[in-house]
């Protein structure tokens, strides 16, 4: 099956700073992919390259099988995009925005948009500058959803939305679109949302994707253990085992984050320790911290 979204070795730098270092990523139709990363890790750059607003310096991005750099206006009709900050024309009323969308997007369904806006309690006659940040975000999301896109790209869509809105609107919209076979790629800093919505997670770090796996698989393969080293000549040993993602020293003990710990590795771990705790499954936030704040050597 053709991927709905694909990055092939995309590189991009700003001055001497390399922001993307050979990004490889693919999202299938109907899949919800969450792109995570710290501030400045290149998420927005990647999304802008994907939509053809920025040119990569190397490699290529594809969306709906078309190179991003050559998207036609017909291709853009099939893609929904909400940029970071969900900016709309502040001087227009919501109904003017609906009219504008209806005139400039052939797939736009005004009835659907009006129904969703009414459900969210957003008055059509209000000017955008009178809306709260959260309300503006809702309008932007509803406008995109009403175009029935085949690919949906969100740059931090939850920004400005409260918990209730995130659950009611964002989750509903994304799930609805995904059910219709729409591929969704979104970046977010709210990892609880990601855990709830995403099928697959990617963590962008140092300009490359260091994690690319389904969420349940991640939870199955990664575990945390407390490890107290055996002392030799008064000095404690260091944890040395394959699959160690991060070792954090807490007093005399270590908190280890381990990947794919099989029996042989566990035996090695136990051999150098006075105590090894039972496995704990880390949540996404812990895993994200382990992978993006730990030293590279520890991996």
């Amino acid at each position: 099956m053709t991927n709905a979204i694909e990055f092939r070795g995309v590189r991009r730098h700003f001055g001497q700073q390399e922001v993307l270092r050979g990004l490889e990523l693919a999202v299938k139709p109907g899949e919800v992919f969450a792109l995570l990363g710290r501030n400045g890790s290149g998420k927005t750059t990647a999304l802008r390259i994907l939509l053809g607003f920025l040119k990569p310096h190397e490699g290529e991005a594809f969306i709906l099988g078309r190179p991003s750099a050559a998207l036609t206006s017909a291709d853009r009709e099939r893609i929904g995009y909400v940029a970071e900050g969900q900016h709309l024309y502040p001087e227009l009323r919501v109904c003017d925005l609906l009219r504008f969308e209806a005139e400039t997007r052939t797939r736009f369904e005004p009835a659907l948009a009006e129904r969703e806006l009414a459900r969210a309690g957003l008055p059509l006659e209000k000017h955008v500058w009178h809306l709260s940040r959260g309300q503006r975000a809702q309008v932007a999301l509803i406008l995109v959803a009403a175009t029935s896109p085949e690919v949906l790209v969100f740059d931090d869509p939850a920004m400005g939305l409260d918990v209730v809105m995130r659950r009611q609107l964002l989750d509903t919209l994304i799930e609805l679109l995904a059910e219709r076979g729409c591929a969704v790629l979104f970046s977010s800093h709210i990892l609880t949302d990601v855990e709830r919505i995403a099928d697959r997670v990617g963590i962008l770090h140092g300009g490359a994707l260091i994690v690319d796996a389904p969420l349940d698989e991640l939870k199955r393969r990664v575990q945390k253990r407390q490890w107290i080293p055996r002392k030799v000549n008064g000095h404690g040993a260091e944890p040395l085992v394959d699959g160690l993602l991060r070792a954090r020293k807490v007093s005399e003990a270590y908190e280890l984050t381990l990947l794919d710990l099989d029996e042989a590795r566990e035996a090695t771990l136990r051999a150098g320790a006075t105590h090894v705790s039972e496995p704990l499954v880390p949540d996404l936030e812990e895993l994200f911290l382990d992978l993006t704040t730990g030293t590279e050597n520890s991996r």
Binding site: R11, G15, K55, Y81, L88, T104, A208, I210
Partner: protein, 629 residues
């Protein structure tokens, strides 16, 4: 409603604000200029007013057009739909141009409505007024297009500003040449309209080419940018070096000893000590310690001045007399008299009882020359003033007084004398005591001096007329002129200036630097033109095309100029090749530098930045730590 209308309608708030603001500004301007100055007998004020206001407003409008989506941060929101960037650009441009065109239309309509009720009404409709309006509007359109072109250039902001200034000055230079040929307003409007269209087309390409500071200018744009930069840099360079040389030469001349008439029969070389007091120098230019005061030959006349033949300042053909607008007090109001650029006399009476306008042609030949000027005769009473008009080309003098309707009364000098000079004369006693000044303008004929009175020409004793120096340049060398001055007392002083002091040599050197920096093609052209002769045949506005040194015996400066251009072009080519540019690109920019000289090199360095060619060291991507099984 189609997509274009939808795109325009979303901006209706801002477009309405722009339309109203511009229309109000234009209406106020045209009301200030007055109806009769626009449509009855168009005046110069209309040209100047429109040419200042419309380009300014047009530039602001273009700036807003470019910034509009950035200000609301909706650039990507508006792009992510079934609209091409070209469609978006043309929709915005058409909307902006419509707004721009609406300004003069609304202003003119309001002016006409008012005049239909209160004033000249439909009676006044001079076609030139429409021509000037069209030309002013076309200038506004060209400015809009130029600003749009500059602001959308895929360069860093410093590059856009620099290239914008360069292009604007180059266009002004071309415009000055165009104006000097006095084209009809329609031609002017068509040329500017065509220029605007071309610039909008280029701006369309620019706006669809996003700026990437980490990549060189795309090849497609290079094909447009390189020739444009070359031409603009050459024109800009010629203007800058021309001003540089003129300024250095003038400062050099002002450094030099003055020639002063210290007594009616004595001329001397002096250096100024303080205001009005000079120290006399001996033949070797050494100070003698003797102080004197007297009338000085303006040192600026020593500098080559091609724009104007070396008439002495009192000669009727001299630029010093170019007074072409005068207001007379007449009973019940004022009479404005203006010599128009199209060779007629425009008279507008603004009286308490109403306004009237007339255009008077030169009796017989139809047009007054561009050197014709107006002079005010001595005032005889508070509401009785006299003007006289002198045309030095095919000489003639006419009187204009308070009669209604006004007439041009021929006023030849007695005895059929030809007017030669206009001087001041000290009559000693003011006969009417209406003014405290005893100096009056007199016309000097071939034999006598004459003063215009209410009874006609009256002779003036030649001893009361301030006689000018007569300057002869035996050698018009820009740095070492050989001059001979004849005083009013008949004494002659001949002197060859040399570069005597370090400061004079420094200023001469500065002038030479200006000539060397002149872009090569224009330097070659200037070297073929005798600078001393061009002022007699070419208008003032084209003076920047010529060079006082290259066209005044210093053609050898072409050699260092060519060497400098070659050196810069070679260095730029080598640098670009080292950075990784293709042969074609490096050769294109080298050619631009050969044409534009130092100025071309500066622009090339702004376009082909180091950053654009310098990629960071490639680092291997971090390994994937967790990949789906």
């Amino acid at each position: 409603m189609n997509k274009t209308l939808a795109l325009i309608q979303k901006d209706r708030v801002w477009l309405t604000i722009a339309a109203c603001t511009g229309a109000v500004a234009c209406t106020v301007l045209l009301f200030e200029l007055r109806f009769e100055n626009v449509f009855v007998l168009p005046g110069y004020g209309l040209v100047e007013g429109l040419w200042l206001l419309l380009p300014l407003l047009a530039a602001l409008l273009a700036g807003f057009q470019v910034a509009r989506e950035h200000l609301s941060r909706t650039s990507e929101y508006v792009r992510q739909r079934a609209i091409t960037p070209q469609h978006l650009y043309w929709s915005q441009t058409v909307a902006a141009v419509t707004v721009l065109l609406s300004w003069p239309v609304v202003a003119v309509a309001l002016l006409w409505l008012r005049e239909l009720v209160f004033g000249f009404g439909a009676a006044g409709a001079d076609a030139r007024g429409w021509g000037i309006l069209a030309a002013g509007t076309s200038l506004g359109l060209a400015t809009h297009a130029l600003t749009l072109f500059v602001l959308t250039l895929p360069l860093a902001w410093v590059g856009r500003v620099a290239l914008g200034i360069l292009t604007a000055i180059a266009l002004l230079a071309l415009q000055s040449v165009l104006v000097s040929f006095e084209p009809p307003w329609l031609v002017f409007a068509l040329l500017h309209g065509g220029l605007a269209l071309a610039l909008w087309m280029v701006a369309r390409v620019n706006s669809c080419t996003p700026h990437d500071p980490d990549r060189p200018l795309p090849r497609s744009l290079l094909l447009v940018a390189a020739p444009l930069v070359a031409v603009c840099a050459a024109l800009f360079g010629a203007i800058v070096t021309s001003s540089w040389e003129a300024s250095s030469l003038q400062r050099l001349q002002m450094q030099r000893p003055w020639i002063v008439e210290i007594a009616p029969d004595q001329l001397a070389l002096v250096r100024p000590v303080r205001a009005g007091v000079q120290e006399i120098l001996d033949e070797g230019l050494a100070p003698t310690g003797r102080l004197a005061s007297g009338r000085s030959l303006g040192n600026e006349t020593l500098a080559p001045r091609p724009a104007e033949p070396r008439f002495d300042p009192f000669d009727v053909r001299s630029v010093y007399h170019w007074q072409r607008n005068q207001t007379l007090w007449i009973r019940g109001g004022v009479r404005n008299v203006e010599l128009t650029p199209w060779g007629s006399v425009r008279i507008i009476d603004r009286l308490e009882s109403g306004r009237s306008a007339w255009a008077l042609e030169r009796p017989g030949s139809g047009r007054f020359s561009k050197r014709a000027f107006l002079r005010e005769a001595r005032r005889f009473s508070i509401d009785q003033e006299l003007l006289f008009l002198i045309d030095p080309e095919s000489p003639g003098i006419w009187r204009i007084d308070a009669e209604t309707p006004p007439v041009l009364v021929p006023l030849p000098l007695p005895g059929g004398e030809r007017p030669v000079k206009v001087c001041s004369a000290n009559l000693g006693v003011n006969p009417t005591h209406t003014a405290g000044n005893d100096w009056v303008d007199v016309v000097v004929g071939e034999q006598h001096a004459w003063q215009l009175t209410i009874d006609g020409w009256q002779p003036v004793e030649s001893s009361r007329v301030l006689q000018p120096f007569t300057l002869t340049l035996h050698d018009a060398d820009p740095f070492q002129p050989d001059v001979e001055v004849l005083s009013s007392g008949g004494q002659r002083l001949r002197h060859r200036y040399t570069l005597a002091t370090g400061k004079e040599m420094f200023l001469a050197g500065l002038t030479c630097v200006g000539a060397v920096l002149r872009p090569l093609p224009l330097a070659l052209f200037a070297a073929t033109q005798d600078y001393d002769d061009i002022g007699r045949s070419l208008p003032h506005e084209t003076r920047w095309l010529f060079d006082p040194l290259l066209g005044g015996g210093f053609a050898w400066l072409l050699a260092p100029s060519a060497l400098l251009c070659l050196l810069l072009a070679t260095l730029a080519r080598r640098e670009l090749r080292q950075r990784g540019a293709s042969h074609a690109r490096a050769n294109s920019w080298a050619a631009v530098i050969l044409v534009g000289g130092v100025f071309g090199a500066l622009v090339v360095s702004l376009i082909e930045t180091r950053r654009a060619w310098r990629a960071p060291a490639r680092s291997a991507p971090l390994p994937v730590v967790i990949r789906a099984a």
